[in-house]
Each structure stands twice: as C-alpha cells, then as structure tokens.
Symmetry: C2
Subunit: 195 residues, 2 copies
C-alpha cells in the first residue's frame, strides 16, 4: 500500500534541512519512539551497528564544541539536541543475539576490513533511517559531516570504542519558518542507467 501525497510531502517533498528550531525540547518518549522505528530498517545480517548519542545538556554541548567545524558551532549550540550517529566497531559481538541462524560473528571477528566496511555502510544506512523516521514523526533534522572525528571520538568514546559517523541537529520546525528554495538536483537521466 503506497503512501498518500501528504505523507510523501512530509517525508520527502516538503522536507528540508533545518538549522533554526522551535524552542521546544524533544521528549525522551519521542526519542524512544523514533528509535523503535529506526531499529526496524534493514541492515545486512541484521547487524545493527549504529549507536545514537543524544547530546542535550550544556556539558554535552561543550564537549562537542571543540570538534565542530567553525560553521557548525553556533547552530549546534542552539539546537535542542544534537545526535551523534556512531557505530560500534565490535558490533559483531552481538550477532549471536541478532542473527541466531548462522555464525555471523565468525564472518567478521577475524576480518577487520570487512567488519569496518560493514559497520560503516550499515550505520550510515541507519543514520538515513533516523533522518526519515524523525521527519515521519514531525521532527526536523540538520545533518552535518563537518567535524573532527578524532577529537569527537576522544571526547565521547574513549571507553566504549565507538566511532562517530555523522551528526544530526534535531528538533521541531519553527511555525511559519520560511522554506528555503531547493538546490538543483541531478535529473533521472544524469543519475540513473538501465542495463
């Protein structure tokens, strides 16, 4: 059953990157409801390597600040919440629980290159599911890749060993905010081929 036009508008056509959010916090229950959707998006062998850190305290934001690119500091400090989309390089240790049908842990435990590629691809997919699910719940996102991963990982993940992938400023859209003009996109002919 396809979505109706209003739903497609919410998730795709009218959605856009937001930097200036309404002055309204994102409730814990909303973050949990969001995760309950995100976790359902497909990953290879159900490996689910993404980890999400919800930075919302002044202390957390200050820990983030030195890792941010200059152009991302002000908007990140002002956002109700900043999500670190991270990945657990040892995601495969949970595969006996997540994928009991095969010894999937063994595919990765002796192959760090495959483990890293798999963690990165699948955590990135989960980051995209997060953006879409947030929009589906009426939230707005400002995704960012402009930050220093080494600094961020040292500040947040020195004990867990998680690795940052990208950041998302998260909140509610401002009522009556001006919708910016869309940037040009590649045409169907430019971006696709038939074979």
């Amino acid at each position: 059953m396809a979505l109706d036009d209003a739903a497609l508008d919410t998730v795709f056509r009218n959605a856009h990157t937001v930097w200036d959010f309404a002055d309204k916090p994102v409730a814990d229950e909303t973050l949990q409801a969001l995760y309950e959707l995100v976790k359902l998006g497909p990953t290879s062998a159900n490996c689910s390597p993404a980890r999400f850190v919800f930075v919302r305290t002044p202390e957390g934001k200050e820990k983030l600040r030195p890792a941010l690119s200059a152009g991302n500091i002000e908007k990140t400090m002002a956002a109700p919440l900043t999500v670190i989309v991270a990945q657990d390089p040892f995601f495969f240790q949970k595969l006996p629980q997540l994928f009991p049908a095969a010894d999937a842990k063994g595919w990765f435990s002796g192959n760090p290159d495959l483990a890293e590629e798999t963690a990165t691809r699948n955590a990135t997919l989960q980051g995209a599911y997060f953006i879409v699910a947030a929009r589906a719940l009426g939230l707005a996102c400002g995704p960012m890749s402009g930050f220093d991963k080494v600094k961020l990982d040292r500040a947040f993940f020195s004990s867990s060993g998680w690795k940052s992938n990208f950041l998302i400023n998260l909140g509610y859209p401002k009522d009556g905010a001006e919708i910016p003009e869309r940037l040009p996109k590649l045409t169907f002919e430019e971006a696709t081929l038939f074979a």
Copy 2:
C-alpha cells in the same frame, strides 16, 4: 505534521526484506517517480554522489551473475529488477551545478580521501532513501552486500569509473506472502546514550 499509523506501518513497522516478488514488472515511470523522491533526501553540500543502475534485461542479469555471492544468485536472477547502488568518485565535478553558493568542488578536487569518504557516506545515505522511498511507493526491497565489488565494477563501470556500494532486488510484494518473524533488535538502552 507526523505520519499516521498506516503510513508508519508501510515504511517501517510492516516493512521487511523481500526475496520472492510478484510476477509484475516495475514500470519506467515508477522508477522515475522513485528517483524523484530519492533525489530530495539530504546529502552534504547537496553533493548527490549516488548513481542507480537498473538491471532488468537477461543480458544485464548475466553480467551481474559472476560477481554475486553464491547465496544471492538465484534470488537476484529471479527478481524483476536489481538496482546497483553506485557512487561517482568524481561527483565533485557537478558541484558548481549542485551547490553554486561556494566553491565546493575545490574542497574535494585536491583531497581524494575526503572525496572518497564523502562519496561513500552520502551514496549510502541515498541508498537508504531509495529503500524507504520504494516502500513508500508500495514496492518491496531485498538489499544485499554479498558480491565481489571488483568484478562488478569491471563488468559495469569500466568506462564510467563509478564504484558499486550495495545492491537492491526490487519488485512488488506477492499477495498473501507470509510475513517472516522479525529478528531481535537492540533495545533503546543498548543502542543509545544521553550526554
């Protein structure tokens, strides 16, 4: 405006990976409508590095076959369509068109590591938007990462230089097909932190 439960069910809660599709082709117009949604998903500096190859001819499928992992051959040969989610390593040459506000091409043209990381992250995000948009249009997906990238890229991209990222078998769900039991997922407490 949040999506209603029926729409959330379609995109997330009732959606699942499908390997056995209805005997119904995916029309060109449907693929174009799908791309028109996918292209709207956010990428950093609007860089839009993903390229989508729709493999649906017997010749195309045979070109794909030698690159596939053994477990993926039969279902891929039987699927109405297989999408190669690829990326253009020289995506930044289109940035003067896609991001006219700054010299974004210059950020990447002298920095192959940043270009590769950016192409990979953003094409993967676009691959996830593709999965979600396909479901939103009533299609079903079987994403796969089990294939030999070197073989596939040599077979399909020796002249374009594009690089494969992952594959998606695509079609319509079968009426009355049994919905498989969901694999276990990480809990909110396992996959998230507050800071």
